[in-house]
């Protein structure tokens, strides 16, 4: 059932954010430390577990993947509610601090990306399929998952 997928996603998010809050308290920080990242790791683990047991049915996939396909529209809605006026009116100090740190960080991405870069093609079916789902490309998203990992038993 689709709701199982949505509920699984919700559960992972709630547990992850809760753990992030706990981590924040433990470290004495007034913020959530990596809650969303922890939730992502939980979801990855849950997926592996379901695949290994052959229980990753179409409904669960649909429930989770629907929200991945909504990712870009949600980001657009997020962009539409940024405080752009404050950013534009910030003045030179804001502009300099933001631009310079951004340029340095872009340079670091180029630098770090070169470490341990393999010649083998990095593109595989799993990554490509993920891209299609997140891009909200319906036809691709509904096609069966690539056989990159153990195939679930044909029982749903």
């Amino acid at each position: 059932m689709t709701i199982f997928g949505v509920a699984l996603l919700a559960l992972c998010t709630l547990i992850g954010v809760f753990l992030g809050d706990l981590l924040g308290v433990a470290l004495g920080v007034k913020a959530n430390v990596g809650g969303v990242g922890l939730a992502m790791i939980l979801l990855i683990a849950a997926r592996s577990w379901l695949v290994a047991r052959g229980k990753l049915g179409g409904g669960i996939k649909l429930g989770v993947e629907f929200w991945s396909t909504m990712y870009i529209p949600i980001v657009v809605a997020m962009a539409a509610q940024q405080n752009v006026v404050a950013a534009v009116r910030g003045g030179p100090i804001v502009l300099i601090a933001a631009t310079v740190s951004l340029l340095l960080c872009f340079a670091c991405v180029a630098l770090l990306g070169h470490f341990g870069r393999r010649d083998a093609p990095l593109e595989n079916e799993q990554i490509r399929h993920g891209g299609a789902v997140i891009a909200g490309d319906g036809d691709e998203a509904l096609s069966p998952s690539p056989p990159a990992r153990p195939q679930p038993a044909r029982k749903v």
Binding site: T13, L43, M70, A79, Q82, V84, A97, L112, F115
Partner: protein
Amino acid sequence: MLHMIEHVFVEQSLVAAFAVVGGLMLVSNLASRRLTAGRVHGSAIAIVLGLVLAYVAGLYTGGKKGVADLPVFAGIGLMGGAMLRDFAIVATAFEVDVVEARRAGLLGVLALALGTVIPFIVGALTAVAFGYTDAVSITTIGAGAVTYIVGPVTGAALGADSAVMALSIATGVTKAVMVMVGTPLVARLIGLDNPRSAMAFGGLMGTVSGVAGGLAATDPKLVPYGALTATFHTGIGCLVGPSLFYLTVRAIVG
């Protein structure tokens, strides 16, 4: 008549937001295909369009939440707010290639460290260049260059002046907006085309909204890898901002 339509939008805020954002995506995809022959992603155009609308709405309402400050578009605030944004980000993890992510784990940690230290130093030096001499103000502005959440959290912890706090938040927001718009432009130049470099990117850029928008506009398949590291950024920044960074700055400026 107009009043009744307005009433529907206010009452059905989230549903209205789906329709509005859908329309925005449609226009952007058309513009991408017709005007740029597909060279610029439809999502990149949609994000920039969203930012422009936020600017116009911000000027009109004088509020801080862009389009969401207009009652008819309040649903955009819910749809693009932290709750659904994080929910969708977590969902993208379902598409992660575990082997690839694990292989780049150490790289992600290194990127997180650099992505916290470099912006802080740049922000702090800028603050000094503009005549700030006290450790609290320098630290707060430096922290703002990390992300727009680290700035005010650090400032509040240190008891910074509210004008300095505003400056700190503005720095973080500006950075986020620049990441959203700038990433697709420089992606090829910095080799941002595989999960590895996406994880480095997420750790270095930090700002979740910036990374989320920037990667969506560049290449959707990279989103989960960048998000995985970026979500640790704010927490780490809030950890070291008021402690390690503040003590270091105070030791230097006295």
